[in-house]
Every structure is written in structure tokens, then in C-alpha cells.
């Protein structure tokens, strides 16, 4: 870990990559990803929501955000931007303005968006959609109805919407499906395979799986250790890597051959600690503050 100074405050940042050997470290220059919480509004009502305690319900000021992005670029610590919420697509017009601003500042910035699929097809109207590094669509079950129930909303990604978005994009691979591993839903190897079969049939190439972070009662109750599943893969899988970030986090990746003969890349991750001592991300909140992680220490707020 290394201490760097941002906005006149010291923060502890990770300065090593994850490695396949838990006891080895590979040092790199510290870098941070900026998460922009475009809004705290959300169309869904997820029981596992990790955002409930960190909502500000402000309005993003693009001028203030521009200042922060340029500042971090000048500091040479910014390696990418993720746009999240709430649900960032509750206001597609604002999303379009934000993307245009980011690419105007630096056209080479890696930008990813996380969405539950609300207004999903509005992406196709955006000027910069084909410049995106990735669109991560949260989809926690292969069955539309079960997925709607998990989100507590029918206004989330349907199979049809995902297929139509995929068809309309120049670069088909930018869509990633993200799935929580949790009891009663996707909670064992057969369910993982059904999910991957489903994703392959949509024509999507990548499916990420994440164990719940044991930071609230729902997560504690529904937690599944991803190793219980991914340590016991069958011959339909090719397991590529198993990475560790010390004691705090681990992940695996590889390929899966679906029962319909499609190749889908999978990725699975488990964060083991709710509070680790370093940060890898900054958060620009919807009320125009910068914090060292979600709901964590305030680093910057423009004086009014």
C-alpha cells in the first residue's frame, strides 16, 4: 500500500496487482477508478442493495465534475471511469451529456456503465455508445419473472431488451451480464450453468458472478462462498486463472461451453472484507462530493 495525496488529503492506495499466488505481490504505480453516481434515484427495490446508506439525492453539476476529472488526470492517478447510481439510466439525457463531457475531456478514457437495464434501448440513441468500454447489465436470474422479483421491478433488463441492444451496437462484446451468487437463486454449479447457457443464447459473450459482500443482514443470510462452486467445475469449463488480492479479495475466470455450443467467458469474484485498509476507487457523489470509496471519507467538496 502507498499513501498518495489527493485534494490535500492523504489516502492509502493499493500499489500491487492481484496475483495467482496469494503470497506474492506485483508492484505497480497506484491508480484509481472514479465512480460517478449519476443519481441516487432507482427504479428497483433490491433487498441486497448496498447503496441504501450512502444516498445523497443531489444533482450532478457537470462543471464541477469536469474539474474533478481534469484534476485526477493531471495527477496521473485515473485509470478509468465507471458510471453508476442509483440507476444511472433513470435520466438518459443526462447520461448522454455526461458521456459527451467525458470523451471531450479525454477520448481515450475507459468508461464503463452499470445498469439494471432500465431504459436499456435508450443507449442506442447516445452519441458515444460505441466508444464505451463496457455496459454491465445486472441480471440475477435466467428467468425474466424471477429476475423481476429479485429487483422488485418489471422495469429492468428483459431478455428481449438485451438482445435488441446487442444487435444495435457496433461492438457486440461491450455488453457484460453481472449476476449475484445468492442462496435460493443462482447458488450452485447447475444454476451457474443455466445462467451461462442463457447468456450464450442471448449472444452475450461475458457473464460475471459475484458473491454478496457480507455487509448487511440480507447478504449475511444469502451469502455463498464462490469457491464452493468454482472449485468444483466440470469439463464444460476451462478455468483460466485464480487471482488473489491478499486476504481481501479473490477472483477466477475462464471459458464455458454452453449446452448449445456457444462459448461464454465467465468471471467470478468475492470480496471478503467490507472494510479493507486501502482504496482502489474514488466516488463522485450525486451531490458533487468526492469520497474515498462508497459512503466513505470525504475528500473534496467545493465551497459554496
Amino acid at each position: 500500500m502507498k499513501t498518495i495525496r489527493i485534494f490535500n488529503q492523504d489516502i492509502l492506495v493499493r500499489d500491487s496487482l492481484c496475483t495467482t499466488d496469494i503470497n506474492k505481490r506485483k508492484e505497480v504505480l497506484p491508480s484509481l477508478r472514479l465512480y460517478i453516481k449519476l443519481t441516487d434515484e432507482c427504479n428497483a427495490n433490491c433487498l441486497f442493495c448496498s447503496n441504501r446508506d450512502a444516498r445523497d439525492f443531489g444533482t450532478i453539476d457537470l462543471k464541477k465534475l469536469e474539474y474533478v476529472i481534469r484534476y485526477l488526470l493531471n495527477m496521473k492517478v485515473l485509470h478509468g471511469i465507471s458510471i453508476t447510481g442509483g440507476e444511472p439510466m433513470v435520466n438518459p439525457d443526462m447520461m448522454n451529456k455526461l458521456l459527451n463531457l467525458i470523451y471531450e475531456i479525454d477520448s481515450s478514457l475507459e468508461v464503463a456503465i452499470s445498469t439494471n437495464g432500465y431504459n436499456l434501448l435508450e443507449f442506442l440513441k447516445m452519441d458515444a455508445v460505441n466508444k464505451l468500454e463496457s455496459i454491465h447489465i445486472s441480471r440475477h436470474h435466467y428467468n425474466d419473472e424471477v429476475n423481476f422479483n429479485i429487483f422488485g421491478s418489471k422495469d429492468v433488463a428483459s431478455s428481449k431488451d438485451i438482445i435488441l441492444l446487442q444487435e444495435g451496437l457496433d461492438d457486440k462484446k461491450i455488453i457484460n451480464i453481472n449476476t449475484l451468487i445468492m442462496k435460493k437463486y443462482i447458488d450452485n454449479l447447475e444454476e451457474i450453468k443455466r445462467m451461462l447457457d442463457y447468456v450464450g443464447n442471448l449472444g452475450v459473450y461475458k457473464n460475471g458472478f459475484v458473491s454478496l459482500m457480507k455487509c448487511n443482514s440480507f447478504a449475511l443470510e444469502h451469502f455463498i462462498n464462490f469457491n464452493d462452486i468454482f472449485n468444483n467445475l466440470d469439463k464444460n469449463f476451462y478455468l483460466g486463472h485464480h487471482f488473489y488480492s491478499g486476504e481481501y479479495c479473490e477472483c477466477v475466470d475462464g471459458l464455458y461451453l454452453t449446452k448449445y455450443n456457444k462459448i461464454v467467458e465467465f468471471y467470478a469474484r468475492m470480496v471478503k472484507e467490507c472494510n479493507c485498509p486501502y482504496t482502489t476507487q474514488l466516488v463522485y457523489t450525486s451531490d458533487n462530493k468526492v469520497t474515498a470509496g462508497f459512503g466513505k471519507r470525504l475528500l473534496y467538496k467545493e465551497k459554496s
Binding site: 506485483k26 457484460n176 455450443n261 470480496v271 482504496t279 482502489t280 476507487q281
Partner: protein, 124 residues
């Protein structure tokens, strides 16, 4: 000279799950696997060349598989390599899965996702 067991096993799985009319899909799947191995630095040039040989011989492999129900890719790898010796292999199809797609991987068995590189996987 042979592919490592786990890589070979997965290619065998891809080939043996298919039928002769499925050749283009099988080829695409093996190419995706090849791209993954290459971009995640899990295969050296020799291994990649061996996968190219398999792709070259795919039709033959699928014919054998259809006739006897199963084909072991490694068993004909050596002879196939000799057979095409002396002429250049067809260049692999240009990958549509470019480096950007693998940006959370890096060389030497390290991941650079940084605990937040994949946007939905918030962590520290």
C-alpha cells in the same frame, strides 16, 4: 510438442460436442478460446500454432468424429502437422475480441482489475 492436458481437453470438448454441419461455429469457438489464451498470456507461440493446426484440420476431425462418435484431437495432431508442413498456415481469423476486452487481465499471471476495475464489482 502437445498442448497441455487441460487446454486439449477443452478443445476436445468443443469438437466432440459438435456435428459436421456445425463447422463454422466450432471454428469460431476454438478461435475464441485461442484469443482468450493469447490475450491472457496463457499460451506461448508454440501452443497457439498447435491450435492453428487443429483449426486447419477441423473438417477432417469432424468427419472422424461423425464416423466413430469421438475424436481425440491430440492423436492426429502430429500427423496433421506433418501433412501441412511445407506450406504456411492460413492466418487465423482476425479476432473481434481485441485487447480492450481483456483489459482486466495482464501478463505474468497478474490481474489488474484493481478491486474496482470491473465496474459492477465494487470493493475497497
Amino acid at each position: 510438442m502437445f498442448l497441455s492436458t487441460d487446454i486439449l481437453e477443452f478443445i476436445n470438448k468443443i469438437v466432440n460436442n459438435s456435428i459436421i454441419s456445425d463447422k463454422e461455429n466450432v471454428k469460431e469457438n476454438i478461435n475464441k478460446f485461442r484469443d482468450y489464451l493469447k490475450l491472457t498470456k496463457m499460451a506461448d507461440e508454440q501452443l497457439l500454432t498447435e491450435i492453428d493446426i487443429i483449426i486447419e484440420c477441423l473438417e477432417e476431425l469432424l468427419i472422424i468424429k461423425n464416423k466413430i462418435g469421438y475424436v481425440d484431437v491430440s492423436s492426429i495432431l502430429e500427423s496433421s502437422k506433418e501433412k501441412i508442413n511445407g506450406r504456411p498456415l492460413k492466418k487465423s481469423r482476425q479476432s473481434i475480441y481485441n485487447q480492450k476486452h481483456y483489459s482486466h487481465y495482464s501478463s505474468s499471471g497478474s490481474s489488474s482489475c484493481g478491486g474496482g476495475g470491473i465496474s459492477s464489482y465494487r470493493s475497497c
